[in-house]
Every structure is written in structure tokens, then in C-alpha cells.
């Protein structure tokens, strides 16, 4: 199991997609920093300020991109194996259940890893650009806003961890969708579509019967500095996790059924050969 996870992580890290995604995140941050009305080029804001204005304060490009990135990195890794049937050899040794568990864990690690690595690169870049600590005009309204006033660095670390958690869950969702639908395209785009377009259903669910479902829609779950109550965020994240688990379970049954049919087919041909 450990070997599968390590090999997946190695494959993810050595893929071009990983570094293209990291580059995209960095470019989006740079554009957001330059476009941010709170950031003034003539004023020194310190490395903490640079990071906050570039990432934590509303970054519309990243909001659109973030749900798609984890799937872009991880979906090709497992979909190739599933489509080519390469998973069969490994799952024969470990068992299908353990194999899928290992790949689920690696999806979580890969999904969180991309954000941790790229945000740490950005943090280092900010420190390199302006190593001073300055007071900035920023009033957090989102998660852990109290932490910001006691320690800005801890606030940034919490932001990175939260983004990584979201990335991990969206990557797991992509894994589940790929397994259940056996479609590479859907495993690549559907998590992102659910992440960016689910707000369209807000008005559809605006009735007494379905209104409870509005809380579960994972729209803007990535946005750290948005005043969504923590409990609502928890509900959204749990919804993604449970949906992914259900999809993985459905995929497991599908693969098991397939392997049974294949075994029966090979058994029949073997019996035919003996008869001949």
C-alpha cells in the first residue's frame, strides 16, 4: 500500500502538469497582487502584506482555477491505469479494496501537495521581494480572523492548510468521479464544474423542501476570506468527502463486477481449450 502511495506521489511530482499548475497559481497571485486595489506599488507592505494581498484577499482567477487544478494533476495518473487495465496486476497482489484505499490516500496527498508547494513558493517569493514586516490595512472577515490579530504568520499557515484541505477533497472527488463514471473527461472537469457552478442551484433549491441543500453546495468553499460561517464550510467539505466516498464505493463495486466477469470469461476459454 505504501509503495503505491509513494509511486503515485513520485509520478505526480515528476509530471509537467504539477509544475504547470504551480506556475499558474503563482502567475494568478502576481496578477491579483498587481490588480489589488489595496496594494500600492509605491508603498512597502512587507512580505506578510504581499502574501495577503496576493492570495487571501479575493482572488477571482484562483477561485475559478482551484477546483480544477487537483483533478488536472491526479486524474491522468489513475485514469491511465484504469483504462489500460494496469491496475489489475497491482490489485491482484494487494486486493482491490486496499489498492483503492491507497490510491484514495495518494489522491488526498497529491491534491493538498500542489497547494502547499505552490503557496510555500509564493510565501518564499514574497519574503524575497520585501523581507520587512509592515503594518497593513487589512481586516479579515473569514476563517480564523481572530488568529490574524495575534499572529499573522500563523494565520497564513492556517490559510495554506485550509486551501490544501480543499485541494485534497476536490482531488478525492475527481478520483471518485473517474472510478464511478470510467470517464477521463469527467474526472478532469466535473469536480471543477461542481466547485464553480454549484451556486447556480441556489435559487433552484430556494423552497421549503430543498432549502437545506443550499448549505451543502460547495461554491466558493476555497475562498478563505469570505464570511461563510465555519459550520457551513464544514457542511460543504463533509458533503464533498461523503460524495467522494460514495463514488469510490460505487467504483469499487463496478471494478469488482468487471473482474468477476473477466474471470468467468477466462475460465470459460480455459475450459474450452481443455475440451478441444
Amino acid at each position: 500500500m505504501g509503495k503505491i502511495i509513494i509511486s503515485d506521489i513520485k509520478r505526480a511530482l515528476s509530471s509537467k502538469r504539477f509544475w504547470i499548475s504551480a506556475g499558474l497559481i503563482i502567475i494568478c497571485t502576481a496578477i491579483n497582487l498587481l490588480a489589488s486595489s489595496a496594494y500600492d506599488l509605491n508603498k512597502r507592505v512587507g512580505w506578510i502584506g504581499l502574501f495577503i494581498f496576493g492570495n487571501i484577499i479575493g482572488n477571482p482567477m484562483i477561485y475559478l482555477l482551484e477546483p480544477f487544478i487537483p483533478a488536472f494533476i491526479f486524474a491522468p495518473l489513475f485514469m491511465e491505469d484504469i483504462k489500460s487495465g494496469a491496475y489489475k496486476d497491482v490489485s491482484k497482489k494487494t486486493g482491490l479494496k486496499k489498492y483503492l484505499a491507497a490510491r484514495s490516500v495518494s489522491s488526498l496527498i497529491a491534491g493538498s501537495g500542489i497547494f502547499i508547494i505552490s503557496l510555500l513558493i509564493i510565501l518564499a517569493g514574497c519574503f524575497f521581494c520585501d523581507p520587512t514586516v509592515q503594518t497593513i490595512e487589512y481586516m479579515p472577515i473569514g476563517l480564523f480572523k481572530e488568529v490574524y490579530y495575534s499572529s499573522a504568520l500563523l494565520y497564513i499557515i492556517l490559510f495554506i492548510l485550509y486551501t490544501a484541505l480543499c485541494g485534497a477533497l476536490f482531488c478525492f472527488l475527481s478520483f471518485g468521479i473517474g472510478l464511478a463514471s470510467n470517464s477521463s473527461s469527467m474526472s478532469l472537469v466535473l469536480p471543477g464544474i461542481i466547485g464553480s457552478c454549484s451556486y447556480l442551484m441556489l435559487n433552484l433549491f430556494n423552497n421549503p423542501v430543498l432549502s437545506w441543500m443550499q448549505v451543502l453546495l460547495p461554491y466558493l468553499v476555497y475562498a478563505f476570506d469570505v464570511g461563510t460561517p465555519p459550520l457551513n464550510r464544514m457542511a460543504k467539505l463533509c458533503f464533498i468527502l461523503f460524495a467522494s466516498l460514495i463514488l469510490v464505493a460505487a467504483g469499487y463495486h463496478k471494478l469488482k463486477k468487471e473482474s468477476r466477469v473477466n474471470t468467468a470469461a477466462t475460465g470459460e476459454t480455459h475450459a474450452n481449450k481443455i475440451e478441444v
Binding site: R17, A35, F72
Partner: protein, 254 residues
Amino acid sequence: MKSISDNFKQIPLWRIILAIIFLLGLSFNAYAALSFEGPPSFQEMTLTQLIDVTTFNLYYILLLVIAGLGFKNENANIQHTNPDGFRRNLKYIAFICFLYIAVLLVFNILSMLLQSGSVYFSDKWCVLRPEGFEFLTPSQSAIICILLLYLRLVFLGCLVSVINSRCRKMPFGYSGGFAVCLFDGIMYYNVFHQNTIGVLPYEHSYLACIFITHLPALDVFLSVLYWLIMIAAAGLLYRLFNRQSKSVPVKEVF
């Protein structure tokens, strides 16, 4: 036509249902956004879905669910080794985009019926405040917007198809259209500070951008021409890539 309907039949039912839910949501949202100031007309409701910057890119994203657009290499690579593949893909994309917009319009009527009990058509501005195109009627504006959206979607679909022709293992083509959606608006707003340079896809998608020079007939004609040139360019790229791929083994993009 038969191949188009065959391709369409291959789309799984769950994907169509998902797309219907999203599109219905889009119509419900548009009505809810406008109904605060009074009952909107059908034309205004349609228009509000086409001039809102945040929802505009969603059309492309949603198109990916409906069509599995350009994702045909998931099942077979034949589409990309065939020089006529682009023409076939273009027909499929044009058909899907037409169907997509038609369904959206039907859902607009449906959501009006469900939320207010009646459908209201009017060629006067009632609720919406047009900025930059006041001299057009809501119907004219809606027709122009629909035409531009249609051409934009067809172009993005072609782009998906072109990139997919370079990716044999996984359908990464969606990322091309996505990059256009992500960067053209941002370039317009942040890099060029809303000064039109005339070549960004964004400038040929929105009424407010197009009519900045107040030469409506010419500008719409130029925008249509722009999209046709872009589609033709995508076709040329497709041909170029596939001609190369015959002699040189295809190198994976990602």
C-alpha cells in the same frame, strides 16, 4: 447528420440530467436577479445571462458537461488521425452549441412560467439598465448576444478539439478553452485597463465592449468576422498538427 446524432446518443443520460439541472439553475438565477425591480421581459432575462461577466464563462464550463466536447478521443483516436476530423468535430460542436442555446432559451421561458406564472415579452427596457448599447432594443441586443455567444462557444469547442488532437492519452483540450476564459477578461480589465485593442476574445463577446466606438452595424459585423477567422485559424492549426503527426510521432502536451 447521422454521425452527429450518433455522437449525441453516446452522451450518458446522467450527464444530460446534470446539464439540465445546471441550465435550469442558470435560468432561475437570472429571473431572481432581475425580479427585484419588477417583472423582467423574456428578452431582458435572456440578455442578463449574456452580459454578466461572472456567468459568461460558465457557459463554456457547462458545455463541457453537456457535450463532453472534443472529448471523443476518449473512445476512439480515429477522429484525430483523420484529416476530415476537424470538419466532423466542427459540425458536432456547432450542433451541440445550437442545442445548448435553444435549451437555455426554453428554460428561460420555463423558469418565468414557474416563478411568475406568465411569460412576458416586451421590446422596451423595463428592468435592465443597458450600458453602452442604449440605442438597441432588448430583442436586438439579445439576438446579437446570442449570436456572439454561439460563435464564441463554437470557437472554444474547436480549440478543445485542436488541443485534444495533440493529447492521445488524456483529453486535456478543455484547458485551452479554460485558459481563454481565464485570461481574456483579466487582460482586458487589468492589463489594458479597458482600452480596446480589438483582438481579445473578450472584446468580441460583450455588447458593452463592442459598442464602445458607437458604430453598431460595423462592430457587430467585425465581431462576427473575428470569430469566423478564429474558427478558421483553429481549423488550420488542427490540420497543421495532424499533418505533422503523420510524419513525426505525437509528443504529449502535458
